[in-house]
Chain length 467, copies 2
């Protein structure tokens, strides 16, 4: 059936339907350590109608559909575990419209966040009377906005600006039968019917292919202050973080790096940060406001036993303060030759964060693998980068075991097995442990919208109903 479909697709898409092995290999995996799975073909549509035609064909032939953005996710959501057609959305890179007044934009799914932000900056250059806008959700990678919506990405600025779900006003989605629907719209809020936008966001391509997004934009702040403060231990750092939040100081970012990571970046980037758990802050607002936020935060960190509170508002100095955070991931990888990062992602109520971090750090200390810890601490979300040898099955097994213990802890501590990376392939087995019988509701929705199970099959939901 697949070969007949591919012949059809080739007739329709010509050289935008590719079956060369090198292309299929490039689309077989994201940046994770999951086993790759090659699609049978990769198609590059440029419009929603083309995506609709591809999916309708897959539906007719019973062939899996796997959407693919920048391939920068970490839970194997793009692996073609049952082959099929990979829809590469990167050529759907048109910015459809921007309204400075409404502070919203509509983009095709393949537009990346840097591309959108560059476009917004250029618009502002050309018309200085309008406010300068940006899209602040920052998962680290320059991911496609469609992919970010599909995984409900968030990142370090979520403590201030929320996640992808809250930033979406509406979506265009191609359903399993090829039909195109629009969810939401441009109104800032609506109570009209079921909230399908929120359902498709985070569904990882298993309910439909997101082809267009209408996003809320935010004003670029007049001023940004960055700050850094070292602490004697994890507990006092987290206590300070909690007090900053409950004091109502609107941090734009608040990141935690453990002493293992600080040592790693000192080595990697030639820095001289004190080797101890450290908080990194960012504040957005007017000059006066970010100065006031910095002052109040410094008072709290000092009261909580923090060391020198350094802060700055000019760009070069801010970059110097935050360099350790920027370089974190590569500093981790540099801890070993031939390395790759096995990255965990849990999120707990902040009152349980210190306990969850302590346990994670104990597992890391007990392991022979380097495992620095960092976190979007304002959300109770943290990652452990377990640095493994690319070619070592033993390393991978050990990393998986540590990751699993951290997840079990997070669930025991009222948290979730994934704050922002998604379920993908990697956490399907955990979904019922976390969600209980709500998984059956998810299954019912999946069966209703994708009765032939062609939409990114083998992802998100566990295989067996009884599992």
């Amino acid at each position: 059936m697949t070969s007949a479909l591919i012949a059809e697709l080739r007739a329709a898409f010509d050289d935008r339907c590719v079956t060369a092995e090198s292309t299929r290999v490039e689309h077989a995996i994201d940046v994770s350590r999951h086993a790759p799975g090659l699609p049978d073909a990769v198609v590059y549509p440029v419009t929603t109608e083309e995506v609709s035609r591809i999916v309708a064909g897959c539906n007719r032939h019973g062939v899996p559909v796997v959407p693919f953005g920048t391939g920068t996710a970490v839970e194997g959501g793009v692996v073609a575990v049952r082959g099929g057609v990979c829809i590469d959305l990167t050529r759907m890179n048109q910015i459809v419209r921007v309204s400075a007044v409404d502070m919203d934009a509509t983009v095709q799914a393949g537009v990346t966040r840097y591309q959108l932000n560059d476009h917004l900056a250029a618009l502002h250059e050309s018309d200085r009377s309008a406010p300068e806008l940006h899209f602040p959700i920052d998962p680290g990678a320059d991911a496609s906005l469609g992919g970010m919506a599909a995984t409900c990405a968030s990142g370090s600025a979520a403590v201030r600006y929320g996640t992808m779900r809250g930033s979406m006003l509406g979506l265009t989605v191609v359903l399993a039968d090829g039909k195109v629907v629009k969810t939401g719209g441009r109104a800032r809020k609506s109570s009209a019917g079921y909230h399908l936008t929120g359902l498709f966001v985070g569904s990882e391509g298993t309910l439909g292919v997101i082809t267009e997004l209408t996003l809320r934009l935010q004003r670029v702040p007049e001023a940004i202050a960055s700050a850094v403060c070292p602490f004697g231990d994890v507990d006092s750092a987290i206590a300070a973080a909690i007090e900053v939040l409950t004091a109502g100081i609107p941090v734009a970012r608040m990141e935690f790096l453990d002493e293992v990571l600080i040592a790693a970046v000192n080595e990697y980037s030639g820095l001289r940060n004190e080797v101890t758990p450290t908080l990194f802050f960012e504040f957005h607002g007017t000059e006066d406001f970010v100065a006031e936020c910095s002052r109040r935060t410094g008072e709290i960190t000092s009261k909580r036993g923090g060391g020198e509170f350094r802060w700055a508002t000019d760009r070069p100095e801010r970059d110097r303060l935050w360099q350790a955070r920027y370089d974190s991931y590569y500093a981790c990888l540099a801890l070993r030759p031939n390395s790759v990062g096995y990255v965990t992602d849990v999120c707990v109520p902040i009152s349980n964060l210190a306990e969850c971090l302590r346990r994670a750090k104990r597992y890391a200390a007990e392991s022979r693998l380097p495992a620095p810890v960092f976190g979007h601490v304002g959300d109770g979300n943290f990652h452990v980068v377990i640095v493994i040898d690319k070619d070592s099955e033993d390393d991978l097994a050990e990393a998986q075991q540590i990751g699993r213990r951290i997840v079990d802890d997070a669930l025991e501590l009222d948290g979730t097995c994934t704050g922002e990376h998604g379920i993908g392939l990697g956490k399907r087995d955990i979904l019922r442990q976390e969600c209980g019988d709500a998984v059956d509701v998810m299954r019912q929705i999946k069966a209703a919208l994708d009765p032939m199970n062609i939409m990114n099959p083998g992802k998100v939901l566990p295989d067996s109903p009884a599992m």
Copy 2:
């Protein structure tokens, strides 16, 4: 079948299962002008397990289930159009837990927002070391939190604090077969599986009965500033509102009252506000911050042709400034004897708000019915209160016609037919006009989760698939 079920329920719930006509009449309608529909019985559960038992019984007997909170909604969502069992949730009024550190709380569905906020204030009285918290979503009425979630309520503070959907961390829901599921949890964010919380919020009881909610709380601001500014016309008021938003001033509330409403409240409350379109502002933060917000906002209103910008931070003076807004609804009703308000609810992108308001005001001017206009202008959401005679069918028909024209305008102007009141009975006919084929996706979800169509039947979704 219903009588057999009622016998079962009476055996299980004793005098908490009521069939007296007076009780059934009390539960036949909300505060709207829709035709009432009496349930066959009203049951008053106190636990999720009891709700589960009631719904399981209804499922066995194929009898409709209609959840009922405070009955303060306005689109007829509680009308028992096919009879059945009304589940009155008001005795599920336990505040289960509060965490000041995590700024969250878990409550039963019948807890009202005043009850929760009083509880939070008392907690703060008893422990001054913890931050003072509140739940800021303010739809006007002292509604139950379960009902507010079911309709995705929001109100005047949504411009700052969002809607019910964004404020929910997790829900306990009784499904159509009586099964109990928990959605979400206590983590501030999660990418674990489909976002069922957001799906149940706003589903108006048609997918399940919400019995428990875990809510995000907010810090009570140190200081509040209120402000008022009159404008020569609608356009300049809306232009000022837009500029305040795009300047990034974080208004906590920003309300618009038209000159008809200002005249009405002057008469009703003995005020002497200038009879002209007027903006009402509220700012939350530190003393310095709200003063700065007020100053910057005053500069903008002045530039946009606004009149005297009056502002205050002490409570009595703030209340004086905002009294016109507080008294709005009753001032409308006082415009005629034996009156009731037919309230519209549309929401458009703010760039289209002035146009939508102008058209609505023209329909109002052309009508023999008084029809003051007010709005949560920061969201592009506004209401027209068409003041009709309680007993006049002609008035109702005319109000419905005006309401329909306003909705048509809102959809033409990229908006939604309901910003916060929900679809209920009143706007089912409009849903496909707004959502197109996305209505079929909603139907598929409804059919999957409620195959016998017992959950609040006849609400939200239009009757005929082809409609």
